[in-house]
């Protein structure tokens, strides 16, 4: 149960924390937890590969967001984002609702463990909340990857196929690449202008 709680806490913290580096570290922790949770349904090597795919996706995001570039002012990329206090309230409410749902047998008959069911529900709920409150590509990307991780935990119990696991792992990498492209290669004009003026 500790792994499920850590995964839930990671998903909640990535919404309310402003510092990008910390959020990416938390995302990496979340992927490790996902690997541990799906190990109940998949062979250990496959579960480890799932974690590895997630960690690779996190590394791609880290590289795109945090490494200094030639043209842009690197310090401005590290400025923490401003967050509304209501984010804490929203995380509390959605977290409580999904914890309540996840503690019931919402996927009964599939052989899913109670720990995995709890983590799947909370990750999907908090991931969707993250997407809903997010503005920028990085936040939307992290929210989407969190939602997908929650779905994968549940889905690995109903469809423990190697090919599906591999393709879904590729989806995480693809999302990281797309988000990196938007953040790094094609930043918004107003963001670039702001960086130039700082």
């Amino acid at each position: 149960m500790i792994v499920a709680v850590v995964a839930t806490a990671a998903a909640g913290l990535s919404i309310v924390l402003a510092e990008r580096r910390v959020r990416l570290v938390i995302l990496a922790v979340q992927y490790v937890c996902v690997g541990l949770l799906v190990a109940a349904a998949l062979p250990p090597a496959v579960a480890a590969a799932k974690s590895l795919a997630g960690l690779t996706a996190t590394t791609i995001l880290w590289t795109a967001v945090l490494l200094p570039s030639g043209g842009a002012a690197p310090h401005s990329r590290l400025q923490p984002e401003r967050l509304h206090p209501m984010h804490w309230v929203a995380v509390g409410l959605v977290g409580a609702a999904t914890l309540a749902t996840g503690s019931q047998s919402w996927m009964g008959g599939t052989g899913i463990t109670s720990e995995a069911a709890l983590a799947a529900a909370t990750l999907m709920g908090l991931g969707l909340l993250h997407i809903g409150v997010a503005q920028g590509a990085l936040r939307v990307g992290i929210g989407l990857m969190t939602t997908l991780s929650g779905f994968e935990i549940a889905y690995s119990f109903v469809e423990p196929s190697l090919a599906v696991t591999a393709l879904l792992g590729a989806v995480h990498l693809g999302i990281a690449l797309v988000v990196s492209y938007l953040v790094r290669v094609l930043p918004l004009e107003d963001d670039r202008a702001r960086e130039g003026s700082e």
Binding site: I131, A137, V140, L144, T147, L148, F151, Y155, V158, E159, L162, A163, V164, A166, L167, L168, A170, V171, G174, I175, L177, V178, Y181, L182, L186, P187, L188, E189, D190, R192
Partner: protein
């Protein structure tokens, strides 16, 4: 040799070739167009699983390609759809060299065609959803530019398609493993609901359409054309394949009633929101939403003729979108970046591109003598027998959008002062006139589309 392998590997090589010559858009576009057309012809015409003598050698093209323990299968059930997709791609790429939507447009576009084609060929079918997700990732590349609308559209599309993928994966599991086919009504209802959600997202039906107006406003018009054509075709082919494969879905009155309501909502939203838009680009997005509504009404008739007309609308939509995208690209050269007066007097400044834009939109609306009209007329005939209300919605939406288009025409023509004209180059003019001829040619001589309508679409249970 395996047919699906040739299609997929051929597409990857073609994309690599198009990327290599990306600095020369005309060459890149021509390469992608010819390659896509060749792959489309291969998918439709090549004899599968038969040994043939070619130049003294015995050649056999297998219909199955095994990869990672799964199979890609090219057979009668999907070869028409795969061939159609590549033909549409070839058609769009041919004019893309003139529209110049971006350096990687052709390479990413060909890969998008390959992933959609693979999603139609893959067995078991539930993997298709993941391949469509990969198509959506390519679409982000095509749509995103350095403005907030296009970023937002690209991200929304990615989020929606990912959620749609999850819904279709779960529905696929229910259909294949949880005993839906053996008649558990509760599970069947849930599976149908999840499938409906997935298809609604793929086809940008309300309320999952929000990425489309933003993309129309912020992205390159030709990129929107390809993305929309790809996702719409994928959504429609998926839906028809599911209906063809599963009798319990095909015979569900509730499901077809749901499809009809979804069509009516799309027509209502497209017609009314289109009428009140202050932005021409957003108006175009609502025309597209209404057009999908018409396709859904065709499917909801639950007749072979209705399914044929839905497929004919896909073909007409592809032509109209290409024509609109080309005209819109040519029109935007020399226009102010933004503002309410952006299009004021645009038709006097660039008459041919403006004409092409309006002909493309009239085709999407289904105006008489355009390529979009014959299929709509037959759907109206089918609906007038069984459901006059739906037929009135179809007519009403077309009427609203035509009135709105007339209002925009007035804005395009307004102003008394002579404006400096922007002339299209000869190649651009050739393609623009070609677009007008295509839209009107298929409308005046609808029998030209009859070959397409007679084609075996590999849906024996829907179109015997």
């Amino acid at each position: 040799m395996s047919g699906p392998g040739i299609v997929v590997i051929g597409s990857v090589l073609l994309a690599a070739g198009a990327a290599l010559v990306r600095e020369r858009p005309a060459v890149s576009g021509l390469l992608a167009a010819l390659g896509a057309a060749a792959l489309g012809a291969f998918a439709v015409l090549v004899p599968l699983d038969e040994a043939r003598q070619v130049a003294g050698l015995s050649l056999k093209v297998n219909g199955t390609w095994s990869i990672l323990g799964r199979a890609l299968v090219l057979d009668a059930s999907n070869r028409s759809a795969v061939g159609f997709l590549y033909s549409v791609g070839g058609f769009l790429f041919a004019a893309g060299g003139v529209a110049r939507p971006g350096r990687y447009f052709f390479a990413v576009g060909v890969l998008g065609l390959a992933t959609v084609a693979a999603s139609l060929m893959i067995r078991p079918f539930l993997y298709a959803a993941i391949l469509v997700e990969m198509t959506a990732m390519g679409c982000v590349w095509l749509l995103a530019r350095r403005n907030r609308e296009s970023h937002s559209a690209a991200l929304r599309l990615l989020v929606l398609i990912t959620l749609g993928m999850m819904a279709i994966l779960l529905a696929g599991w229910m259909v294949e493993s949880a005993g839906v086919a053996t008649g558990a009504p509760e599970v069947a209802g849930r599976a149908a609901l999840l499938l409906g959600l997935g298809f609604a997202i793929l086809m940008a039906l309300p309320p999952f359409h929000h990425w489309l107006p933003q993309a129309a406003q912020g992205s390159h018009p030709y990129a929107v054309t390809l993305v929309y054509a790809l996702l719409q075709s994928a959504g429609l082919f998926f839906m028809l394949r599911f209906l063809d494969n599963y009798q319990w879905l095909r015979e569900s009155r509730v499901l077809f009633q749901g499809i009809r309501w979804a069509g009516i909502v799309a027509l209502l939203l497209g017609g009314t929101w289109g009428l009140v838009q202050a932005s021409f680009s957003r108006f175009v997005a609502y025309v597209l939403i209404a057009d999908v509504g018409a396709s859904l009404l065709a499917i909801s008739t639950q007749t072979a003729e209705g399914y044929r007309m839905a497929l004919a609308m896909v073909a007409a939509r592809a032509i109209a979108l290409a024509v609109w995208g080309l005209g819109s690209t040519a029109l935007q050269t020399g226009l102010p970046e933004a503002g309410v007066d952006r299009y004021s007097g645009a038709a006097r400044r660039a008459p041919l591109p403006a004409l092409v834009v309006f002909v493309g939109l009239l085709t999407l609306i289904g105006f008489p003598v355009t390529a979009g009209f014959p299929a709509r007329w037959i759907v109206l005939e089918l609906l007038s027998v069984e459901d006059t209300t739906s037929a009135l919605f179809l007519l009403g939406a077309a009427g609203f959008l035509t009135i709105s288009l007339a209002r925009w025409m007035g804005i395009f023509l307004e102003g008394a002062e002579p404006l400096p004209r922007t002339e299209a180059d000869p190649w651009q003019r050739l393609f623009l006139w070609g677009g007008v001829v295509l839209c009107l040619g298929f409308g005046v001589f609808p029998e030209l589309l009859s070959t397409l309508l007679r084609a075996g679409w590999g849906l024996p249970n829907l179109i015997p």
